[in-house]
Symmetry: C2
Subunit: 321 residues, 2 copies
């Protein structure tokens, strides 16, 4: 895993994955008393940064493997990112989803051209089904974060950020990144180390699911006690990845932790001041940047995704807008 892989991923995705803007809002800055720059990955082509990792991984396969196809386990942003990339490469794509996933997510993933295979969470073993499908059809598994090419793809956010921060006159700032398994945070940290060493990654996680914050502190892969129970569903993972924690150790931290109500309030403030749509898990970093204490005059937040159901969004507006 190195910076050259990230730069190569950027070259492969040019013209297919969007260079997202770095937004800011004078009134929001004034409200919180610091300059808050927001990398709006919710504007990415599939609504989250996952299109980058998906593109990077699919485009890095050798042509024979690509022709056989890819498989991913996800009901969320990773599914859409991989499906988008696979369709554009004319690669068959199977997405394995729990049968109780929201109908709209199943429909969206199918709309990108993927074959959705449903399994029963209670009675079936996802990994066994996936392994059988992979073997039968020769599909390559694209993992959500523990894959060097996926990390390289997510790292392209960091390449853009280094340039955009420099354009904004910022060479020193914490960069809050919403963190599940750590693929995005580690990719960005590698890119910034090479191109903007004054920008320092800090992971942002929901309260009760701060496995990365604790792992960065202890140096070991710590686990969360629960797998669900936060509104930030997009970034709930059992523990940091095997690849990602070693990459992040020494480069990133300390990890920030935000409450669900802070994430929802960040969703509402992004609506009012930045006019972008964020999902709660995609707003965790913005919440850390807005509501954290002892922060410097300029902070950066990566707003990772905007695939949110209307009812959740309406709740955020009702409570906080």
């Amino acid at each position: 895993m190195n910076i050259a892989m990230i730069e190569a991923a950027a070259t492969r995705m040019a013209g297919h994955v969007r260079r997202t803007p770095l937004l800011n809002a004078p009134l929001l800055d004034r409200m919180v008393g610091r300059r808050v720059l927001v990398k709006a990955e919710c504007l990415q082509v599939t609504g989250s940064f996952k299109a980058r990792g998906g593109w990077s991984a699919v485009s890095a396969l050798d042509p024979a493997a690509r022709a056989r196809g890819v498989i991913a386990y996800s009901s969320g942003n990773h599914a859409q990112g991989v499906a988008y990339a696979a369709a554009a490469h004319a690669a068959p794509c199977v997405i394995l989803m729990p049968s109780d996933a929201p109908a709209v997510k199943i429909a969206n993933t199918r709309s990108y051209g993927a074959e959705v295979v449903l399994y029963d969470r209670a009675t079936e073993d996802r990994d066994a089904i996936g392994a059988r499908l992979s073997q039968d059809r020769g599909l390559t598994l694209i993992k959500p974060y523990d894959d060097p090419q996926v990390i390289a793809g997510q790292g392209t956010v960091g390449l853009e950020l280094a340039q955009q921060a420099a354009d904004a006159g910022v060479d020193k700032a914490p960069v809050f990144v919403c963190c599940g398994g750590g693929g995005l945070a580690s990719g960005i940290a590698l890119a910034l180390q090479a191109h903007a060493p004054g920008l320092h990654v800090r992971t942002a996680e929901p309260e009760g699911f701060d496995d990365m914050a604790r792992s960065l502190a202890s140096g070991r892969r710590e686990r969360n006690a629960a797998l669900s129970g936060s509104i930030c569903d997009a970034i709930l993972t059992p523990s940091p990845g095997e690849l990602t924690l070693p990459l992040l150790s020494g480069l990133a931290g300390p990890g920030a932790v935000v409450r669900d109500d802070q994430a929802l309030r960040a969703v509402a403030l992004a609506f009012t001041h930045l006019r972008v749509v964020l999902e709660p898990g995609g707003a965790a970093a913005l919440a850390a940047a807005l509501f954290g204490e002892g922060l410097p005059d300029t902070v950066i937040a990566v707003a990772t995704g905007g695939n949110v159901d209307p009812a959740t969004f309406a709740t955020a507006l009702e409570r906080f807008a």
Copy 2:
């Protein structure tokens, strides 16, 4: 009024006004059966394209006039655009607003540093108050559309669009533009005539307020029967501007007309597929691009603003998302 003025405005605003992205969404394209490219001016620094015209006009003043200050009549996007530009130029700024304007708009305009002067719509004469203030303090009036430098500023949207459409491989398409007085539409039309003659402006207006569509057809400045009564409040004007109609005649049309429910549905689809926040008046062009009949394979829409109250947005989500 010529292309050189637009290019000069672009030079003056570099680094202060945002180059907004041209967004698209594969699933939205699939839903409507054509490629829809959306110039997201809701992501502009004050939440609408009006920051461009404001910046262009304030920056074009001679230093002595700028030091005396500017005045604008507006309770909406033009107020914020002018206030933002004036503050950045350290120019005093008075915004004249009806006393029944929403408190949040008054507060926002003050937050940009403007002095808000309130008047009673029922008993006071706005123009008389404005004239007296202008005379007493030597303020320059910045009109919302009938001002060459304002039109030049709005035209910078067209310069960016010409480049972005070319980057997307598009050299021929209708460009729907939300239209009130016609400042934005005329500026864009001039820029595209010079830099992308295959892109053709079509104004988009709410049903019952299609003064520009009728004026383009008749060649005369037609008036609307009413001044209120559409949810698209940002683009309700009594008639086309004196400067804008002559500029648009021959360069733009035919004008499109959308219903309020179509504008709200476009707001909801932009939420789901583009993850941007639009106000109904800022979504009129997108509605025309999505729901119009007999359109070509690729269409462009300028989404002009995103300053929407949460209740209106929630209604759009509830009804259409």
